[in-house]
């Protein structure tokens, strides 16, 4: 118990003193997760919109598949992307394995489904009357789509934040595609896994506190954009 208490104090010290290793890993985590989220947004929002605004055969099935992918274990995504990026894989020539760029690819693959699904849910949450009002007031089809997306902005923002949260906190892709190379691909989650197994509990705890804090902030923001602070 003492050890945990002392470890906690030391961990807080590491954070407050802006320990270079802690800062380095945190910044890298944020940059990689933010990049993945930005790319995933440009993929998920248009695809979600296409699916929502078009009626086609098998639409329900497609949405079901997307929703199933939400809970895909991160290690299976890691494995899939590993196979794709490995030397003998179809994209081996790009040399992305064990690079931050490779991690971005993996995290993007990981969060596109949930962001697409949540985009569809966000758009479905807009009342039919909004479309009616827009069209009645003279909106063209595309203007109406734009308006509906605008009405869904809070829920879409929440989708983006949730995607970012998943990218930041996942460990499978970061470990398997990034390889946890110090100063290069080591991020919060992989560093915690490594340092804990090596016995540097204080360092792990410092990173853990940061990770939990960021997740908390993201969740608060999700609630904030949905119009409620504490929910």
């Amino acid at each position: 118990m003492d050890e945990i208490g002392a470890g906690f104090v030391r961990a807080v010290e590491l954070i407050v003193s802006l320990d270079p290793a802690v800062v380095d890993i945190t910044v890298r985590s944020l940059i990689i997760a933010l990049t993945s989220t930005a790319i995933a947004t440009t993929i998920a929002v248009p695809i979600g919109g296409l699916i929502h605004f078009h009626n086609f055969w098998g639409k329900r099935a497609v949405i079901n598949v997307i929703q199933t992918l939400y809970s895909l274990p991160t290690v299976t995504v890691g494995l899939l992307v590993f196979l794709l990026l490995s030397r003998s894989g179809p994209f081996g020539g790009l040399g992305l394995l064990f690079t931050p760029a490779g991690m971005v690819v993996g995290q993007t693959v990981l969060i596109v489904p949930i962001m697409t699904g949540l985009t569809i849910a966000a758009l479905s949450g807009v009342a039919d009357q909004v479309r009616d009002s827009a069209v009645s007031l003279g909106a063209s089809k595309y203007q109406a789509i734009f308006t509906i997306m605008g009405e869904a902005r809070a829920a879409m923002m929440a989708a983006v934040l949730l995607g970012f949260g998943r990218a930041l906190s996942e460990v499978g892709v970061a470990m398997m595609i990034g390889g946890n190379i110090r100063g290069y691909t080591r991020v919060l989650t992989t560093a915690i896994a490594l340092e804990t197994s090596r016995g540097d509990i204080e360092f792990s705890m410092a990173l853990g506190i940061i990770l939990v804090s960021i997740s908390l902030i993201v969740n608060l923001l999700v609630n904030r954009v949905q119009g409620r602070w504490w929910a």
């Binding site: 009342a127 009357q129 009616d132 009002s133 827009a134 009645s136 007031l137 003279g138 063209s140 308006t147």
Partner: protein, 253 residues
């Protein structure tokens, strides 16, 4: 101006419009009265080209606009509709009122003045920056009316625009309808408020179970309803004042 020719509609497995034909001439105010469920909303939505007719045609200025995206859009931009339940966008009053102008590509410099004038018309001067979601039902309906009128439509469609509103707002909206009608705007209004139909409309169409059973001037219909069926709805009630509504079909023997 606007004409329904044999318009049919099927909703939820039942035929709710059974070949409706009616026409509003330019500058005319036409009321469509009928009990709840008689098909008024369905008809107005088809006239506003929001839903396609399940049969028959809709003519706008003599041109068939029931088919073709482009024709529909252009015709729709010459009309405006106010729904029974105002559905405002989650934005400021200003953004709501300017919407029709913005989608038509009206210049930003012209928009402010037009929005201000439209808000003045509905008695909401200076409400530009308020959030639309914080408004009461009556205020929201005023904004919906300003939003419809700001584009200066040739045809105004009103679907029970004053149902469920307080008397003051109802009066204000009725006064405005009277004014735009007198200015030459064509108005088609669904209502189950007989007094309102009598007061505001040049002609009245009585819709029952998806059919126009009588179409005539307000005097003709209220003074000599013609059929027993219509008489039951409009006759004997008019002495009791303007606020009396047609009873629901369900409460009818």
């Amino acid at each position: 101006m606007i004409e329904a020719m044999g318009v049919r509609a099927v909703r939820g497995g039942g035929e709710v419009l059974k070949g409706v034909s009616l026409k509003a001439e330019k500058g005319e105010a036409l009321a469509i009265i009928g009990p709840t469920g008689s098909g008024k909303t369905t008809l107005l939505r088809i006239l506003n080209l929001l839903d396609p007719p399940g049969g028959g045609r809709v003519l706008f200025d003599g041109v068939d606009v029931s088919a073709g995206d482009r024709a529909r859009l252009l015709a729709r931009r010459r009309m405006a509709m106010v729904f029974q339940k105002p559905s405002l966008f989650n934005a400021t009053v200003e953004k709501n009122v300017s919407y029709g102008l913005r989608v038509r590509g009206v210049s930003a410099s012209a928009i402010d003045g037009l929005v201000g004038a439209a808000l003045r018309e509905v008695g909401l001067s200076g409400w530009e920056k308020r959030g639309a979601f914080g408004l009461s039902g009556g205020e929201a309906q005023r904004v919906a009316l300003a939003r419809a009128l700001v584009t200066d439509p040739e045809l105004l469609l009103l679907d029970e625009a004053t149902a469920n509103l307080d008397p003051r707002t109802t009066e204000a909206i009725e006064a405005l309808i009277r004014r735009v009608r007198d200015d030459g705007m064509t108005v088609v209004m669904a209502t189950h408020d007989l007094g309102q139909a009598r007061e505001l409309a040049d002609r009245v169409a009585v819709l029952m179970e998806g059919e126009v059973v009588v179409l005539g001037t307000a005097e003709e219909i209220f003074d000599s309803p013609g059929s027993e069926e219509v008489g039951r709805f409009v006759g004997g009630r008019r002495r009791q004042g303007r606020s009396l509504m047609i009873p629901d079909r369900t409460s009818h023997p």
